[in-house]
Subunit: 335 residues, 2 copies
């Protein structure tokens, strides 16, 4: 097993040439059924595994997918990497790929890492997370025609920013949250989100806004929302402010669980307020906070699938396929 058995050993044991063994594995259709079966049997018996380094030298393909992992911010909204990585790794393995991990603090250092990786391990593709406006990484990869998929939409609409991506429909999530609250009888529903311009945040706000507009065309949304940096403390003061300014508000939709956790603390005993967060983090589960749940497992699987497809047929048209997944609403005590 650990005592490396090479293709030559298999060939010898099976009484065929090395080539036939290779063909059995890589172009089965070219080998006679009988021979193929026999070779496969010997491979199994000997526990043969093709040496990836040798394959890479010959074919240039490493069957490695590289992904960067960032340090999470406050640790509350940031702990999605876990589930994503697990699923990514699992799906990749099914497709015959392995995941190579790297860290980078910002775009430039991530690009430097690409150069390193490309020179040494030559990953077949990259997975980008946390895409943002003017993403240097995407343009760098695009320029060089390197295969990659982004988890997150390309927020800049550069004409050449066409690449495969997978994302969760944030607007659909906040829309579902808002609809749920409307159905529960709430009429004035506030929104606590991030300052405009962040892509992800704007998207989440939009789902709330369009649902209210849809419900009551004349409704003035300005006073119903607050925009602050992410964080529990910020969420709390924003919620306090909003609730004080509009006594009619009975429910809040938030752009993150951090903000929602803060909103929860802003409530007064005399005035129950329903709160729904976003991300369905462990913290939300812990305190009974309703939250929009992102299908991270599916997202990761979609990333791998897109990549695998692109890698199988490198020539097949513009690789700009994308997948937009719908989040689900997890209802707990808070709403």
């Amino acid at each position: 097993m650990a005592e490396k058995v090479t293709i030559t050993d298999v060939a010898k044991a099976a009484g065929v040439s090395r080539q036939t063994v290779s063909n059995t594995l890589n172009s089965p259709e070219v080998v006679r059924e009988e021979t193929r079966k026999h070779v496969l049997e010997v491979i199994e018996r000997l526990g043969y595994r093709a040496n990836q380094a040798a394959i890479q030298m010959r074919t240039g393909r490493s069957r490695l997918i590289a992904i960067g992992i960032e340090p999470d911010g406050d640790g509350i909204s940031g702990s999605w990497a876990d589930r994503f990585l697990h699923s990514l790794s699992e799906t990749a393995a099914q497709e015959g790929y392995r995941i190579l991990l790297y860290t980078a603090a910002d775009d430039p250092s991530e690009i430097a890492t690409y150069e390193d990786l490309l020179g040494a391990y030559k990953p077949d593709a990259f997975v980008l997370t946390g895409t943002h406006h003017d993403d240097l990484r995407a343009s760098w990869l695009l320029e060089r025609g390197l295969p990659f998929v982004a988890f997150g939409r390309p927020w800049s609409d550069l004409p050449d920013a066409r690449h495969p991506w997978v994302d969760v429909d944030g607007a659909a999530g906040t829309e579902a949250a808002t609809r749920h609250l409307l159905a529960a009888g709430h009429r004035r529903i506030g929104f606590i989100g991030w300052p405009p311009g962040s892509g992800v945040g704007d998207d989440r706000r939009e789902g709330w806004a369009r649902t209210l507009r849809d419900q009551d065309r004349g409704q003035e949304l300005g006073g119903l929302q607050r925009a602050v940096e992410d964080g529990i403390a910020a969420g709390e003061s924003a919620a306090r402010d909003l609730l004080a300014a509009d006594p009619g508000v009975t429910a809040l939709v938030c752009a993150s669980d951090s903000l929602a956790l803060g909103a929860l603390q802003a409530r007064e005993p005399a005035r129950p307020v329903a709160v729904i967060g976003f991300d369905d983090t462990p913290a939300a589960r812990a305190v009974g906070l309703s939250s929009v749940h992102q299908p991270l497992g599916e997202a990761a699987a979609a990333c791998v699938e897109l990549l695998a497809r692109a890698l199988e047929s490198p020539d097949a048209g513009p690789p700009s396929a994308h997948v937009l997944l719908a989040p689900t609403l997890t209802i707990r005590q808070s709403a």
Copy 2:
């Protein structure tokens, strides 16, 4: 950059043989200072990176460290992988290694993955997480003399279970928590943990127990503790039960944040009870739960260091070095 530049290109550009380039990189002391500098300069200028696959073919070393990632349980106590992986990846990169990810549901399938990996990518070493009694993985690796480090002590005292490991001193953590509570004036301090036999859980209980014994030699600890499976609900009912059974209890130390979160909910307005959890998860931060904080970054760094040292000198004695890190106490509102 992406246009592969090989050692031959460097040799040509520098006007030396490929050999000299290789030596400059791998045995600098054997190359004349002047030549070395010149070659290094050319390498820099050309952006040369040694092809890892070729190196691996020749030397058998992949500079890859493999680590398994498990799906987390309730997601509260389980989300430490994030921080650990980040640090692992970062430290590894500094030492010239990269992290290869894999998933496995249980010991046997993890072992099957080892065989796969060893056959194909040939990682230089493995990092084991979640070690437990009778760990099949450790014995399998040990048997074959494959380098690995465990994050977690070898809980079985098999005579040959000697391998490098890194762990966090759970007992020291609960001891610190208990001492903190004693210093705050608490006298009857309860403990909510897991059923005996889990290694990690026993260790955490011991820190609490020895501190109380130390404080008050005659104290009967039996009634002050409860053992349940991990989870918020279990923690809540255990705490309720314990508090009802002993009206003198004013503080609780818990073996996990999940249990502590439950204990928090078991409190009655009329009876304030201090609670301290374990793991310092995002959820703890979110609700203001004091908790024992594990230095995961350092732990990961220690793993890499141990591995790197073992890999540099494969012959240097029994590779049974270990590192036991002290956790810290993060105090918040709950205690």
